[in-house]
Chain length 201, copies 2
DNA sequence: AGCAGGTAATTTACTCGTGAATCATATGCC
DNA sequence: GGCATATGATTCACGAGTAAATTACCTGCT
């Protein structure tokens, strides 16, 4: 939950972050380099106010949320230069990477967004000539969406810039660290995608 | 950028995810347990279409984004039960954990949101009696915001539920894994917060 | 055949956040 | 002192997403 600290979407400020460190409580001690990020300070504050708290999960989840917010902010830059929002690019990207036509509902699943949102985005992207629609012959409820040539070129043009940004953003971690991080996140994500329905209550 | 795969905010579906695995290209091989999550499939698709691509960063960033989206979705549940949105809770939480009054601009910095958004949220929270405002004597432009007793009780009531959700969500990782993850995210976040301004171009 | 129920896509009404003004005040400078 | 400039907070117009209804169509059952 942004561990009670919000990565909502907006600004890119850097709060005070003065504090002194204290060890984690989960039985997990954060080694040296976790020092000084915003989340550490937030956790410190919570522990000062609610000493009984197990802040272990907060340190992980808060950082995931904050990293996600900062990374997205940074990566939106090359998209804006191309006149696209990220959800729009995600939609185009889904078409590009699957290589075949997709129906609106498939696009919704693939981009983790609502059907209504997809409908609106498709309208805009169609008007801009990046995408084309075709009605299904058998079932006239469904539509098939595909990239136009300009749409494909746009995606292919943006992708390298996007990856360059990603590489730059991660340049603080060396190869093995990156691998470990990917692996740990992979097992976490696997768990979350598998049995999160149970938690959704 | 959700690694060209969108964690926008909405649904919680599970796309096909059929694929077979192939090794990473960054010089980093993902070990066994990264298998089968949604991002792995997306990465596989991109590599099939653009074989030259270095997908290493995507595997990390895509997973961070997707984890963040799923975790937020899960953790919003206890908040809705209390009639709060997450941004509202973040605001109240900032007041609670700092322990003292904050001005609207400080709240904006602390919750990483825009001033306008804070203004609106304060109006609502004030109407609900969770928060109080007081004008500054010296500088009549600034206001000071503090939690009311019901506001403080509300936060303190929600917090345990929140942490329980977090603990449950992370239960797939054992102690040492959690610690490593927190540490790696900590160094990444430190890097991002430090010199991301340079990338914001 | 004909209807009950389900599903794809869209539309509608609404909420929320944003960036760009705007107001009100404070502060530095000549 | 008095004006220029900066800053805190708010307001405004708008874009984008959502949930809930709506439309249009298919399919299985009797």
């Amino acid at each position: 939950m942004t561990a009670t600290e919000g990565p909502s979407a907006t600004g890119g400020e850097e709060p005070s972050a003065t504090g002194g460190e204290e060890p984690s409580v989960t039985g997990v001690d954060l080694p040296g380099p976790g020092r000084g990020d915003t989340v550490a300070e937030v956790v410190r504050q919570w522990r000062a106010v609610h000493p009984g708290l197990d802040t272990g999960p907060m340190e992980v989840i808060g950082r995931i949320n904050r990293c996600a917010a900062l990374l997205q902010q940074a990566e939106d830059a090359p998209l804006r230069r191309a006149g696209l929002t990220r959800p729009e690019f995600d939609l185009l990207g889904a078409l590009r990477r699957t290589g075949h036509e997709l129906t609106p509902s498939e696009l919704a699943r693939e981009t983790f967004s609502s059907g209504a949102a997809v409908t609106k985005r498709l309208k805009q992207l169609t008007e801009r000539g990046l995408v084309e629609r075709r009605g299904d012959a058998r079932d006239r409820r469904v539509a098939h969406v595909r990239l136009t040539a300009p749409g494909r070129d746009l995606v292919d043009g943006i992708l390298p810039a996007q990856l360059a940004y990603e590489t730059a953003a991660l340049s603080g971690l060396d190869g093995p660290e990156l691998g470990e991080l990917a692996a740990l996140l992979g097992t976490l994500l696997g768990q979350l995608e598998g049995r999160l329905g149970a938690l959704r209550a």
